[in-house]
Amino acid sequence: MEKPRLIREDGLRHDGRRPNELRPIKISVGVLNKASGSALVEYGATKILAAVHGPREIPLRHLLLPDRAIIRCRYHMLTFSTHERKSPAPSRREIELSKVIRESLEPVVMTEMFPRTAIDIFIEVINADGGTRTASVTAASLALADAGIPMRDIVVGVAVGKVNNVLVLDIDEVEDMFGEADMPVAVAPSLGMITLLQLNGVLTRDEFVEALKLALEGANQIYRLAREALRNSYLKVRVEE
């Protein structure tokens, strides 16, 4: 693939977005009926399905903790989610992302309410177009909320990148591939807590401060949408006549 023009002459990005603009975001909650909770989240072309089971007792007793629930998280990309077929076996990257996503959710989930149990989160990437880990965090926390598991806040994820020396919000695959830096952030906005912060590439100190500010602004926008989606899943149910 050839490097496209990432920032056009008019200052817009290759897909026509302003640097501080998110991709169109779609969120639906409670899309599956066998799981305790589920959510489908789309950041542009990135599409993530998350399902939550539990809290439940599991046969692997040695894993359980006496004072709180454990969270098990599996991030997985479907074979058709990428340009070339992705092997369904968990890769090094997927194992790492599972851990990173789990750790971004652990601070908000009130696991102490369910000692000796396990909460399972399954995340499937249906279509990957950059920012899958951040969309996964959003989807997983909404699925947890849909399962009725007590949480201190909803966590939302968003990435900030640097392309052609411009800081841009919510980067997609092309910008990630040809850009200079990629910084995924997960935030619990009401608590004012950052639960995930990674940085790939190089940012100066000033750029980092600026990038974090941009990420928090983006996270707040997504947070509003997420809360709205969660509420709508109840308001939608109408009285049958």
Partner: protein, 244 residues
């Protein structure tokens, strides 16, 4: 529309309900951060400004056992001196043979499978529930013990309060309108015993309707209308059927 004295709002996790000093009646679902009260689950928050009381009715969630809860359980395993019972909680419950039989048991002489086998249904009460051990059930009490007839309907445990209604109004309505015996267990399993099959179908449909529309006001009236309409449809009482 039902008239409500306390203010009711739909909240989601992380949402601040009110600021100030309030008494929390549902501590599992509300936390205090600074001076703000924050909801931890999706639910209906009730704020009573007069008595400064705050509560949250969850709309989603699993059953968390509490002492004295009436539960319907399925026997999952037969042990030497106890049974393991599924009560839809994150934890498996235990029913001791001493409690169920009311006498000491000699494991060498008798097999507990003779009294309760895997798959049997029991109506029990939670006797003890501590954090470091699973819940322990008791069948000592009126009407408790093995269930031998009737049908069990499963609904979401958080909707149980709606099936009972305020001061048992919905429960009375279900029993009164259909003549069925309805036993509502806290873990979202409801036992219905009816004089005939038609009435049983109506009760089950009504219960499922309550579950679906639990958060919409005016539920009792709608359910009453629903039962009457279904009865007319099945020819149990006279009257005109409105076509849907």
């Amino acid at each position: 529309m039902e008239t409500q004295e306390p203010r009711r709002v739909l909240v989601v996790p992380g949402e601040a309900i009110v600021e100030g000093d309030y008494k929390i009646s549902t501590p599992n679902f509300i936390i205090k951060v600074g001076s703000k009260y924050i909801a931890t689950v999706v639910g209906l928050a009730q704020v009573n400004e007069e008595s400064k009381e705050l509560s949250l009715i969850p709309l989603e969630g699993c059953y968390v056992p509490q002492v004295d809860d009436l539960v319907i359980g399925y026997v999952m395993d037969v042990g030497v001196t106890s049974w393991e019972v599924d009560i839809r909680a994150p934890f498996t419950a235990t029913l001791y043979a001493v409690d169920f039989l009311g006498r000491p048991v000699n494991p060498a002489r008798e097999d507990l499978g003779d009294y309760l086998a895997v798959g049997d249904t029991i109506l029990a009460k939670v006797e003890v529930f501590e954090r470091n051990r699973g819940p322990i059930l008791t069948t000592k009490g009126k009407g408790l013990g093995k269930i031998v007839h009737g049908t069990v309907v499963e609904i979401s445990p958080v909707k149980v309060a709606r099936v009972i209604g305020r001061k048992g109004s919905m429960h009375q309505l279900l029993e009164g309108e259909t003549g069925c015996e309805v036993i509502v267990a806290r873990n979202g399993r409801i036992l219905v015993r009816c004089p005939n099959k038609e009435l049983e179908e109506i009760v089950i449909m009504a219960i499922l309707k309550i579950e679906r529309e639990a958060h919409i006001p005016g539920l009792t009236d709608r359910v009453k209308e629903f039962i009457i309409r279904e009865k007319v449809k099945r020819g149990l009482i006279g009257g005109e059927t409105k076509t849907d």
